[in-house]
Symmetry: C2
Subunit: 252 residues, 2 copies
Amino acid sequence: MDSRAGLAATPRALPYYVAFSQLLGLTVVATTGAWLGLYRGGIAWEGALQFNVHPLSMVIGLIFLQGDALLVYRVFRNETKRTTKVLHGLLHVFALVIALVGVVAVFDYHRKKGYADLYSLHSWCGLLVLVLYFVQWLVGLSFFLFPGASFSLRSRYRPQHVFFGAAIFLLSVGTALLGLKEALLFKLGAKYSTFEAEGVLANVLGLLLVGFGVTVLYILTRSDWKRPPQAEEQALSMDFKTLTEGDSPGSQ
Amino acid sequence: MDSRAGLAATPRALPYYVAFSQLLGLTVVATTGAWLGLYRGGIAWEGALQFNVHPLSMVIGLIFLQGDALLVYRVFRNETKRTTKVLHGLLHVFALVIALVGVVAVFDYHRKKGYADLYSLHSWCGLLVLVLYFVQWLVGLSFFLFPGASFSLRSRYRPQHVFFGAAIFLLSVGTALLGLKEALLFKLGAKYSTFEAEGVLANVLGLLLVGFGVTVLYILTRSDWKRPPQAEEQALSMDFKTLTEGDSPGSQ
């Protein structure tokens, strides 16, 4: 974990796990598309199909892109810390923008149909995810991307940022499962119990979502796969009042 | 993290977080009981109320007790490793037995009513949780409680055991949310959107479940709250071929 001399070797199994996570993530997106295309009439911004923009956008934004944003530090191991940070922040921005399109779609659809908003557990969890996601992004930006925060402050905030990042991602997966279940029960009702093709496909999609969540979490938390600190970071950290605060850069 | 001399001090904030987790966990159990008592006619093994044994048992077993079993190593910091292990294993046995009562209740209820089994995403996730839980317990027992496994093997398996333990716990929370949503939509249907009291209480229960899951995960993953290795463990580890395999007990 402490190879600070030059380029650090990538752990042998890591690329296979990352490839597997991407395969799973793309399968989740494709299965969502297949479900909406085969059983829900496809996607359009106008009319009854506007609702379908919601699940697809949320899965692309808050599942696939958010998951990939978390993996950036495991995949880009030898790029400068700044480049990796910017990529991490940008992926989260893309994720949030696509998610917001999905949120606007469902509110607009509800408004046109005269449906109530924000009554279900899915919507409560979804709102919580969005608020936490935005707050986490803002706080992350101000701590890590602007040069204002001291090295000591960054070191203390980093584990919190990582924990809440993982928690928000997992809550996003859970919220997607709740939404999927809601969409199934509203449409299929008692037919769900007759193993209708749509129900089975949606259950498989649910398990794929769980699989993607677990795989991203595994890659993220394996301690020997963490990004090793680089010589450049030691130097950079000097800019941020390290010395005046008497912190050792290796501390956590 | 490395205070190996005598009794290790308990981190200052840890007891407050543990107390908060227990308060949340008990509130989850009480709210489940209140929901079933107020809106579902209470609990009985015979008749229509047999179904209600299912949510209560699963919440006590696979949420509260499973969560507490994960926290054993954070709470009991100075007891012998063996005592802590036995408590950890026993809590998981209690959790599994109570969960099995809940599973029998729902299958028995379905059989008497002539309902189909295992068609929903909730049931698929639940089955996955039970299988993984049992396998994890068996593998954990054979690696950690019997003296057969070498110290090196234990050290390599430990992080996997911890990761999958956390993943199974989180999947249990997700499965509970799916079950709660299913129970609500089957009974309330379109009335769910009128902010019926039962729907609101169940949504609050859902958020409490999420809160308990996040709090347990936070206590579990905070690196400076991990149980410090004790002098006794260093000595014990000698029995398990440490020296012959050339492993340092501090590695990993």
